[in-house]
Amino acid sequence: MIKKLAICALLAGCSTTVPVVMSFPHAPTELTSTCPDLAKVPPNTTKLSQVLDVVTDNYSQYHECRSKVENWIDWYNQQQKIFTEVNK
């Protein structure tokens, strides 16, 4: 009987902690897509309005990419804050 209890006690002494894992958060797909290439002016155009049109399109493209980068930073900061709260 004592032998069995001793074995039981020895087994209990070997116990370790169960790890609790927090999975890495997935970023929204709106953030993970790459920025498209800039639009090009038609090579044979002589019209300034057409050039202006393409340039403003590219500005718009830049603004969208900037918004994406800013939101990436915002996403990272907020997720890091959540993660830090769990691990403190």
């Binding site: 902690t17 800039l38 300034l48 603004h63």
Partner: protein, 155 residues
């Protein structure tokens, strides 16, 4: 070894601990009683040894049970914290997606306004200025993403 322990209900460790402690006390009392008698005095030492071993094991198992209980509570707390964090994370993702959609709509709306303005003045500016092909080539060259074009690295 761990899977073997996990099969044993945690409360059984508590019963075993108290059982061993009570058994140890019983052995100790028996040893002291045996010491008072003439015939059983010889049993005093073995009973005391048994009492010490039983008490020692009982305290050890009780200590392990307490540690296990504390760890189980800590694990439950952590799991709860992780669940809350994952919910917060999902809320953040939803907010960010909405933010992006609103911002892109604002950018798109502004672009539409700008394009309308270009259309309004197109005939004027086209009549006053002729764009040289070299200017177009320079502009198009500038629009090429230099990292990918020189190093072959996809952004």
């Amino acid at each position: 070894m761990m899977w073997l322990i996990s099969l044993i209900p945690v409360d059984y460790f508590l019963y075993a601990a108290w059982g061993m402690i009570l058994l140890g006390l019983a052995f100790y009392v028996a040893a002291k009683l045996a010491a008072l008698t003439v015939y059983y005095k010889i049993a005093e030492l073995p009973l005391e040894i048994l009492a010490i071993v039983s008490l020692g094991l009982g305290v050890y198992i009780y200590g392990d049970y307490s540690a296990q209980t504390v760890w189980q509570q800590r694990i439950a707390e952590l799991q709860h914290e992780v669940e809350v964090a994952q919910q917060k994370s999902t809320v953040v993702n939803t907010q960010i997606v909405k933010q992006i959609q609103v911002q892109h709509k604002v950018i798109h709306d502004k672009q539409v306004v700008i394009q309308d303005r270009i259309k309004e003045v197109a005939s004027n500016i086209d009549s006053e200025c002729v764009v040289d092909k070299q200017a177009v080539d320079i502009l198009n060259d500038a629009s090429i993403y230099p990292i990918r074009s020189t190093q072959g690295v996809k952004p």
